[in-house]
C-alpha cells in the first residue's frame, strides 16, 4: 500500500459517500466527490493558497495520479478528499449572507455560516465553491438552504 493509503477513499474497494448526500440540495450542488489534496512545501500552479507554503489542489479526475505527480515534484501531499465537503452555490447575495469575506478577493480562507472554517473560490460568474470540514458539512448545507430561503422572502 502507498504511504498513508488509509487517508484516501480512492484506495478502497468501496464507493465513497458524501457527508451531505442525505441533505436536500435545494440551494447548492454537492461536489464533495472532487479530489482535494493538501500540499505542503509550496503552492503548485493552479492551486489555492491556504497558508505560507501550503495549498489546496482540487482534482476533478484521477486523484491518485495527481497525488503521485505532486509527490514526485517534491511536495508533501496529504489527501483531504474525505476531510472536506464541497458545495457549489449561486449568487453574490447568498454569499454575502454566508460570509463577510471580500468576494472580490477570492480565493480566500475564512469563516462562513458563523465561524465554520472554509476555503472559498469563485468558479465563474456568480458561482462559488465552498470547501468545509466534512463534520460541519451538514450544518453548512442546512444554513445554505435556509439563507437561500430567506432571499426568496
Amino acid at each position: 500500500m502507498s504511504r498513508l493509503a488509509f487517508l484516501s477513499p480512492h484506495e478502497a474497494d468501496a464507493s465513497p459517500v458524501s457527508p451531505i448526500a442525505h441533505v436536500p440540495a435545494t440551494a447548492f450542488t454537492d461536489v464533495s466527490h472532487l479530489g482535494k489534496l493538501e500540499v505542503r512545501g509550496g503552492v503548485p500552479a493552479g492551486a489555492i493558497p491556504i497558508g505560507p507554503d501550503r495549498a489546496l489542489v482540487v482534482v476533478d479526475g484521477d486523484v491518485r495520479a495527481e497525488r503521485d505527480r505532486l509527490a514526485a515534484a517534491g511536495y508533501r501531499v496529504y489527501d483531504q478528499t474525505a476531510g472536506l465537503a464541497a458545495l457549489e452555490v449561486e449568487g453574490e447575495r447568498l454569499m454575502r449572507r454566508l460570509t463577510e469575506l471580500d468576494l472580490s478577493a477570492l480565493p480566500l480562507v475564512g469563516a462562513i455560516a458563523r465561524g465554520t472554517p472554509a476555503v472559498i473560490e469563485r468558479v465563474g460568474g456568480e458561482r462559488f465553491r465552498l470547501f468545509v470540514p466534512q463534520e460541519l458539512a451538514q450544518y453548512v448545507a442546512e444554513v445554505v438552504n435556509d439563507q437561500a430561503k430567506g432571499l426568496e422572502a
Binding site: 500500500m1 504511504r3 498513508l4 493509503a5 488509509f6 487517508l7 484516501s8 477513499p9 484506495e11 478502497a12 474497494d13 468501496a14 464507493s15 465513497p16 459517500v17 458524501s18 457527508p19 442525505h22 493538501e38 505542503r40 508533501r76 496529504y78 489527501d79 483531504q80 478528499t81 474525505a82 476531510g83 472536506l84 447575495r93 454575502r96 449572507r97 460570509t99 463577510e100 471580500d102 468576494l103 472580490s104 455560516a113 458563523r114 465561524g115 465554520t116 470540514p133 466534512q134 463534520e135 460541519l136 458539512a137 451538514q138 450544518y139 444554513v143 435556509d146 439563507q147 430567506g150 422572502a153
Partner: protein
C-alpha cells in the same frame, strides 16, 4: 380627510387596502403608512404616554418620536407613521387601560402629580423592602411601552456588504455626495430611512436605518428583516437635522406638531392635517397648510410667550404673545439640531454653537465626512430654552414624560450634571434616544444653573441610534453541530444522542448494561471518529515529539504505539492520546475529541519556535475511527482481512496498515476499554463500509455511556473530566510518564516545583455517589468525585476521586458526602478489572 388627487402623492388611490384598528376595519391606500391611513380616517390619538397616560398624537411623523408607537400584528412599539400599510394588518393601542380615548390610568395625570414626582419610586416605594416586588410589578404594568408578545415567527437575516463609500441619508446633500463618488468610479451604497428611489450610478437601500458606526468603518443597517453589516472605506453622514420641539406648557397636546409632519401628511399622502393652524418658528409648513386648505390663523418666526390649551388632551387654543387664538393645529419648531450621533460614535467631537443654539460635530476622524445640515453649517436664531407660565405640564421629553418641573427638581436635589440628571430623570433615555429632547434638556440645565451649554456638554452618543428589534441583532439561530461520518448509522440504529462539545454522539443504543456485557463477553464496536488525528512528518518529527511530551518518543520503533500526555509550560496536563510511529519520519498522533485543533496549533507553534523540519497536518475530519473490542475481536478482524493478525504478528501496542473489508485501515492495537481491541482508522468517505462489515461480523455497537463504565473499570483517566487545569502528572498518578533524564521537554522546569496537594485515586463504595460529590475529612472538604458508575463486573459502584495525598493508599477508608449523607468508600490504586492487563495482551 383626503385632499383631491395631487401631483407627487405617494398613494395609489386605485388600490385600497383594509386593515384593523382594535378590531374595527379601516381602509387606506397602497403607498400609505399605517399612521397616514389612520390619520386620514380621523384618528388623532395614537397612544397614551409613558407615565401620565396623556393622549398623544402624531408629532414628527418621521419615525423619531414615541407618539405613534402601537402594536402591529403582535409586534410592540411599531412607529406606525413610517410603517408601510399592509392588507389585513391588526393594529392595537398599547399602555392603555380601557381605550385610547378613555384610559383609566389617566388619573395619574389629573391627581397623581404631588405623589409621583421624578424618581418617586426610588423614595416612597422602597419601604417596606418586602413590598418592592409588588410595587415593581404594579409599576411595570401601568408604565411602559407595550408588551412583548409570545413567539413571533418573523425571519431575521444578516447580510455582509463591503463598499467603497457608504452615504447615510438620501436628502439632497446625500444624493449629491453619492452621485459624485459614483462618478469618480467608487462603489457607493446609500441608505435612507424613507422610501426607495433609483440612484444614479449608486445603489440605494431603503427604507433602512444606519444604527451605529463602529471601528473599522462597520455600520450595521436595519432594513426591516435584514441586518446589513456594511463595511465602508469612507462614510458620508448626510443624516440631516432634527426639528426640535419647543418647550412650552401643553406642548404635548394632540394637535401640536412639527413642520415635517405637515409636509409629509400633505405632500406624500394628501391628508388634510387640521382646519385652523397657528405656526411658530420657520414658516416651512405654511405653503403645505395653504395647499391643504388649512386656515393659517397666525404665523410668527419667534414667540416671546407661548402656551397651548386643550380639552381631553386635544389642542383647542394657543396663547401666543398674549393673544389667545383658537385652533386645532399648532405647528411649532425650535432649532434644527444636526444629527451628529453617528459622527460622534465614529469619533467626532461635539461642540455647542451659541449663535445657532445647537451642537455641531467637529474634528471628524479620517474616512468620515458630514455633508448637508448634519454638518451644522446653517445659521439660525436661538429660541428660548423653555417658555414658562401656563397651567399645563411642560414636557422636555415626551418619551419618558419628563417635565421642566422634574428637571428642575432633579437639579435642586443635586443631580446637576447632564449625565446624572439623565440617569435620575431618564430624560433622553426613552425610545427617541434624545433625538427630540437632548438639546432641550441641556439648554434647560444651562439656564437653571446659570451657565452655558458648552459647559454642560452632551451625553455620550452610543449605539444604537435608532430602535432595533432584538431578533435582528441576534439573527438566525445557528448552532454548529459536528457529525461523525458514521452519524447516519447511529441514527438508523436508534442511538440515544448526547452533546459532547460540538459533537452529537451516541450515549447508547438503548441498553448500556447490555452493551458493556457485549464488550466483556463477545464483541463491541464504538465510533471514535471524534478523536483528533494529527500526522507529524519530517526529518525532525521524532525530535519534535520527544521535546513536546514528557515521555520518550525518539526510541519508539516503527510500527509501535505509546500513550502520551501533553503538559503546558507550567507542567499542567492538557491533553492525552496515543502516538504511533508509522515510519522513521512519520508519526500518527491521536488527541482527545475536543483537543484536536488546540494540539495541532500547539505542535505548529513549537515546531516554528524550535525551527524543526516537520509537517503537522490535522487530519481529524478526513479519518474515521472505530474501536473494535472484546474477546472475539481478533477472530472478527481475521475474517475481514488477509493480513496476519495473530498475537505474534499484531501485538499489544502495535500499529499496522492493513485492508479491512477492502478498505485500507490503520489498525492500532490499544485497549481503552480493557478488552482485546483494535482501533481501526480509515478514510471518512468509506467509513460506513468498514462499520457495516464489522457489525456483520457480530460486533454490537456501544455508546459513550457503556464506554465510560468500561474505561472506569480500568481506571483510565479522561483528561478534563478527571483532571482539571491544575492537575499535573504527579498528582494524577502518572509519574511513570515523566522521563526526568530527558534534556528538555515542555513543562520540565515546572516539575521540581510541582505540588501534590491532591491525588487522583480509584474507590469503591456501597452506594453510587454522583459525579461532583465531595470527599470530606473531619467535616471539611478534602476532594471530589470526578467519575462514578455502577460496574456489574466489580459488583458495586466504582469511581475516581481526588483525595489528600496521605489518603492515597490502597485500602484507606475515605468519606464521601452528597445530599447530606456521608458514606464510607475504599481507596483502590490499581484498575478494578484485569489489573495486570493480561486481557489486553492476550
Amino acid at each position: 380627510m383626503r385632499l383631491a388627487p395631487q401631483a407627487g402623492e405617494r398613494i395609489d388611490r386605485s388600490r385600497p387596502i383594509s386593515f384593523r384598528l382594535e378590531g374595527r376595519v379601516v381602509s387606506g391606500y397602497e403607498g400609505d403608512t399605517i399612521g397616514s391611513a389612520l390619520y386620514a380616517a380621523g384618528t388623532r390619538v395614537f397612544s397614551r404616554s409613558f407615565k401620565y397616560h396623556r393622549p398623544r398624537g402624531l408629532l414628527c411623523c418621521s419615525g423619531h418620536c414615541p407618539n405613534c408607537m402601537m402594536t402591529v400584528d403582535g409586534v410592540p412599539n411599531v412607529r406606525v407613521c413610517v410603517e408601510p400599510l399592509r392588507e389585513g394588518a391588526s393594529v392595537r393601542a398599547q399602555n392603555v387601560r380601557g381605550s385610547l380615548d378613555h384610559d383609566l390610568m389617566s388619573v395619574v395625570d389629573r391627581f397623581g402629580g404631588p405623589f409621583t414626582p421624578v424618581g418617586f419610586y426610588y423614595r416612597t416605594m422602597i419601604r417596606p423592602r418586602r413590598a418592592w416586588p409588588l410595587y415593581e410589578k404594579f409599576l411595570r404594568s401601568v408604565a411602559g411601552l407595550g408588551k412583548v408578545g409570545g413567539a413571533t415567527h418573523r425571519r431575521y437575516d444578516t447580510e455582509h456588504r463591503s463598499v467603497d463609500v457608504l452615504v447615510i441619508g438620501g436628502g439632497g446633500a446625500g444624493r449629491r455626495a453619492a452621485s459624485e463618488a459614483a462618478a469618480e468610479g467608487f462603489d457607493v451604497l446609500l441608505v435612507d430611512e424613507g422610501h426607495a428611489f433609483p440612484g444614479s450610478g449608486y445603489e440605494v437601500l431603503a427604507p433602512a436605518r444606519a444604527l451605529a458606526v463602529y471601528e473599522g468603518g462597520l455600520v450595521p443597517v436595519d432594513a426591516g428583516g435584514v441586518l446589513y453589516r456594511v463595511r465602508a472605506r469612507r462614510i458620508v453622514v448626510a443624516a440631516g437635522a432634527l426639528e426640535q420641539p419647543l418647550v412650552f406648557p401643553g406642548n404635548d397636546l394632540v394637535g401640536v406638531v412639527l413642520p415635517q409632519a405637515v409636509r409629509r401628511l400633505v405632500s406624500e399622502w394628501s391628508v388634510q392635517p387640521g382646519s385652523r393652524a397657528v405656526v411658530v418658528g420657520d414658516g416651512t409648513a405654511v405653503p403645505y397648510l395653504e395647499r391643504a386648505g388649512v386656515e393659517v390663523a397666525a404665523s410668527v418666526e419667534r414667540a416671546e410667550q407661548l402656551a397651548a390649551h386643550g380639552r381631553h388632551g386635544r389642542l383647542k387654543a394657543v396663547t401666543l404673545d398674549g393673544r389667545r387664538i383658537s385652533c386645532d393645529l399648532l405647528v411649532a419648531v425650535g432649532a434644527r439640531q444636526p444629527a451628529y450621533s453617528l459622527l460622534a460614535q465614529a469619533g467626532a467631537r461635539v461642540e455647542y454653537e451659541p449663535h445657532a443654539g445647537v451642537f455641531v460635530p467637529v474634528d471628524l476622524p479620517a474616512g468620515v465626512e458630514a455633508v448637508g445640515s448634519a454638518a451644522g453649517t446653517g445659521r439660525q436664531q436661538p429660541v428660548p430654552a423653555a417658555y414658562d407660565g401656563g397651567s399645563d405640564k411642560c414636557f422636555v421629553c415626551v418619551c419618558e414624560d419628563v417635565t421642566t418641573k422634574d428637571l428642575k427638581r432633579a437639579i435642586a436635589e443635586g443631580f446637576d450634571s447632564i449625565e446624572l440628571a439623565k440617569r435620575y430623570t431618564t430624560v433622553t433615555m426613552g425610545p427617541c434616544q434624545g433625538k427630540l429632547c437632548h438639546l432641550s434638556s441641556i439648554r434647560l440645565l444651562a439656564k437653571e444653573l446659570g451657565t452655558d451649554e458648552a459647559e454642560i456638554g452632551t451625553t455620550t452618543a452610543r449605539p444604537p441610534w435608532a430602535p432595533v428589534e432584538l431578533g435582528l441583532l441576534a439573527g438566525r439561530h445557528l448552532e454548529p453541530a459536528k457529525r461523525s461520518p458514521l452519524q447516519r448509522r447511529h441514527e438508523q440504529a436508534g442511538a440515544k444522542m448526547m452533546w459532547t462539545g460540538q459533537w452529537r454522539r451516541p450515549h447508547s443504543y438503548g441498553d448500556p448494561a447490555a452493551e458493556v456485557r457485549a464488550v466483556h463477553e463477545s464483541l463491541g464496536i464504538i465510533d471514535v471518529s471524534t478523536l483528533g488525528k494529527i500526522v507529524v512528518e519530517g526529518p525532525d518529527a521524532a525530535a519534535l515529539l520527544e521535546r513536546l511530551y514528557p515521555n520518550r518518543f525518539a526510541d519508539l520503533k516503527p510500527g509501535r504505539i505509546r500513550y502520551g500526555v501533553l503538559t503546558t509550560d507550567g507542567g499542567r496536563i492538557f491533553d492525552d492520546g496515543t502516538v504511533a510511529r508509522l515510519d522513521d519520519e512519520l508519526f500518527y498522533v491521536t488527541t482527545t475529541s475536543t483537543g484536536s485543533s488546540g494540539v495541532a496549533e500547539w505542535f505548529e507553534w513549537w515546531n516554528a519556535v524550535w525551527g524543526y523540519d516537520a509537517e503537522i497536518v490535522n487530519l481529524t475530519g478526513a479519518i474515521a475511527a472505530m474501536n473494535v473490542a472484546g474477546p472475539r475481536a481478533r477472530e472478527a478482524l481475521a475474517s475481514l482481512t488477509d493480513a496476519d493478525v495473530s498475537n505474534e504478528a499484531l501485538r499489544y501496542l502495535d500499529a499496522r496498515e492493513l485492508r479491512v473489508a477492502g478498505v485500507p485501515c490503520l489498525a492500532l492495537r490499544i485497549g481503552f476499554v480493557g478488552e482485546l481491541g483494535y482501533e481501526l482508522h480509515c478514510s471518512a468517505g468509506v467509513a460506513e463500509h468498514v462499520w457495516d462489515a464489522v457489525v456483520a461480523a457480530g460486533a454490537v455497537p456501544f455508546g459513550l455511556e457503556p464506554q465510560r463504565v468500561l474505561r472506569l473499570e480500568k481506571a483510565h483517566v479522561i483528561v478534563s473530566q478527571d483532571t482539571d487545569s491544575e492537575s499535573n502528572l504527579l498528582s494524577a498518578g502518572m509519574p511513570w510518564i515523566v522521563k526526568d533524564d530527558k534534556e528538555d521537554f515542555v513543562g520540565k522546569w515546572a516539575l521540581p516545583h510541582a505540588q501534590v496537594r491532591e491525588r487522583l485515586v480509584g474507590f469503591t463504595c456501597d452506594v453510587l455517589p454522583p459525579e461532583g460529590a465531595q470527599v470530606v475529612r473531619d467535616g471539611r472538604i478534602a476532594g471530589r468525585v470526578t467519575s462514578s458508575r455502577f460496574s456489574e463486573r466489580v459488583g458495586k459502584p466504582i469511581g475516581l476521586c481526588w483525595v489528600q495525598p496521605d489518603q492515597a493508599e490502597e485500602g484507606t477508608t475515605i468519606q464521601i458526602r452528597w445530599e447530606g449523607d456521608v458514606r464510607p468508600a475504599t481507596v483502590t490504586l490499581s484498575p478494578f478489572y484485569d489489573p495486570e492487563g493480561a486481557l489486553l495482551r492476550s
